[in-house]
Point group: C2
């Protein structure tokens, strides 16, 4: 008997018909003799509807009250899924984040899971019940409802899997696995059988949108085998685990991320410690910085450029402008008309020519590169947004279609 955690997103539970479909997947898994813990997101548009209601009464509602409001969404979907499973004659119980032992930090709307105490889940499984848990939420040390932020339900599922040493954590979504590129845009995209945590992590961070990076990080840390699969096709998906078996492949995927903006701090004094000051200031406001590029000092000054999530651009600019004078910067400029295209692959570590091939592909389509960033298994380039699609096509063709 295995313990399997299954996570279903908002589209998968959006109405009675889809709930029935999910209930069938869950009860099939249960009937095969497994213990099953199900993690659900809010139904389809529920979260948007609730946000609209909040906007109407107070466009600047506190994050604490937003979390109170939004966490009702998963409560509804969890109860409805449990009822659907009941209707099929299986023993089941739904649990809220706080009942399922989700202990989080106090950062409303973007809390992190500190630990999961699965005592109640364990107790219900011991009664041979299917356990449905609300994703995306927990409770903080004040006893207040918190939500986990984007992709939170994936993280909830992996956290349960980790705390209970589950044998498999299945993430059901509307794609049937991880592809070498976005299959809706690149017809030649290939589904991967397996991918390593690190590759998946780079792809998640880079906007592949299949799994949220926090969930992959946690899966890697606790060595939880993940499967990304579709709730509609019942086909095997892509397994994410420590060692990828696709060693023959140089890279495992191409990803594009439009949710990005570039900021440049112009003409700061060329002396030590300034980068530290700038980036720790941003970090203190939870603004994550991605690609960083620093010009070589000239005439005693230099420029520092970096990228941030588009939604954080306004906050970042405000923060930088507050401090610009103190740092001696002459100007702060930004551009949100950019995109980041990346290739990821454990194989590139031992193949130094990968970057050159990527740049060649871009050059062949006259795509200009603004910034470059590399890690052991990833190469990212910042481009004009208009060049994004073309760049992905060119790169995918180069690595996957010209065999």
């Amino acid at each position: 008997m295995s313990l399997i955690v299954q996570k279903f997103g908002g589209t998968s539970v959006r109405d009675a018909e889809r709930l029935r479909n999910v209930a069938e997947i869950v009860t099939d898994t249960y009937q095969q003799g497994n213990d099953v813990v199900v993690v659900v997101s809010a139904q389809g548009d529920t979260t948007d509807d609730l946000i609209a209601k909040a906007e109407e009464v107070n466009p600047r509602a506190s994050k604490r009250e937003m979390d109170m409001l939004l966490s009702s969404g998963e409560q509804i979907s969890a109860a409805l899924l449990a009822m659907t499973i009941e209707g099929m004659g299986f023993p089941v119980v739904s649990l809220l984040g706080w009942q399922a032992g989700f202990d989080t930090t106090t950062d409303y709307s973007n809390a992190r899971i500190k630990k999961v105490n699965p005592a109640r889940i364990r107790q219900e499984l011991d009664k041979r019940r299917i356990v449905v848990v609300t994703g995306f939420q927990g409770v903080n040390r004040f006893g207040d409802m918190t939500t986990l932020g984007r992709g939170g339900s994936d993280t909830s599922a992996v956290a349960i899997a980790a705390s209970m040493h589950a044998d498999l954590c299945q993430i059901f979504t509307d794609v049937d696995g991880v592809y070498t590129a976005d299959p809706r845009k690149i017809p030649g995209a290939i589904k991967l059988e397996t991918i390593s945590y690190d590759e998946m992590l780079e792809l998640a961070t880079l906007g592949a949108q299949v799994l949220h990076n926090r969930s992959v990080e946690m899966a890697k840390k606790y060595n939880i085998e993940l499967e990304v699969l579709s709730s509609l096709t019942r086909r095997r998906g892509t397994i994410v685990k420590e060692e990828s078996k696709v060693e023959k492949m140089l890279i495992s995927g191409v990803a594009k991320d439009d949710n990005i903006a570039r900021i440049s701090i112009i003409g700061v004094p060329d002396k030590p410690g300034l980068a530290f000051k700038i980036f720790s200031k941003l970090a203190s406001k939870r603004i994550n910085v991605d690609i960083i590029l620093q010009s070589i000092g000239r005439n005693g000054t230099k420029d520092i450029s970096f990228t941030v999530e588009k939604s954080k651009l306004e906050d970042a600019i405000a923060l930088l402008q507050e401090n610009a004078e103190k740092w001696g910067a002459s100007n702060i400029v930004s551009d949100d008309n950019v995109t980041k295209v990346s290739i990821v692959g454990a194989g590139m570590e031992s193949h130094p020519g990968v970057a050159a091939e990527m740049f060649e592909a871009l050059f062949s389509r006259s795509v200009n590169i603004q910034m470059i960033s590399t890690s052991e298994i990833k190469i990212s380039v910042l481009l004009n947004k208009a060049d994004g699609e073309r760049a992905v096509e060119a790169i995918h063709e180069k690595f996957f279609e010209t065999a």
Copy 2:
């Protein structure tokens, strides 16, 4: 500084405009220097919408999962009201039933409050925050969500008032007080300034629908002063407290309850103990019995008739039929085409002629009486449903309009 508990029903919080109106009442009370705890029901149609969703996936969903589902309704309204108050610049925090310390019995969908531990509410009030609490819900000893059943939010409000020794508990509703009869139907109905707990209790039980009887019982037990008033008019309402001041009035109101059915058990042996067996059996299934009438024994058998809530009729009949043979009953018949009309008034204790006047009023309109039940401050009659309106008119005229 006083501590005031204010309860608003579903209609009062049904949309952004009504939420704003409620927020104004609450913040006015706060600005007058009071500590304010607000208890809210789910918005307008939320509960019905959720029930419809449940019906769609499983018409026979367990009560436990129904409570999980429905308790999200108050969560939404509480968060939205808190946001509205925030938007007006006041410190506020919303709390769910379990956060507010509502400890209930395990009867899902019809739980009773065992105790309220108001530590968290107290802590928030000490920070000078307005506290918005979800009505209608709590948590049982398994750590599961429970709901309190019909009128539960009134009870939640009174329970908080009792546990915190509040100075006043205001129940805002869509009528502006307690009337001598339903003002929508009897144009001459008079609003009462005050009414005693006992009178209110009889009126509530008898279908006046202004306050739920559980809330009045609790208010009486802990001597909490209640005010029933409208969230729209800002006029003084009716005060419910130990001693009514309307001593000049013989009776304080006429009420009609259509939500009732009559059951007769025909031809049971005329021996001791049977009534006990029948009614304890019904009580064990939580079926409340109201008017009871037992015929005089004849030929060794007798008939027992009584009334139950209409929704419990089916369950009651099933239960009785199971046991009919054992009890030696020859037949069980029922009639749900009945209504109960009652008059309530502390004044009638010292005026023995009240019952005669009531019967005279009914006789003057040719209304036939099926059953009669009296208490110290109440007289109820069971009538054909078709006679109900006419009976109320006749009685109200007799006692209130013929001065």
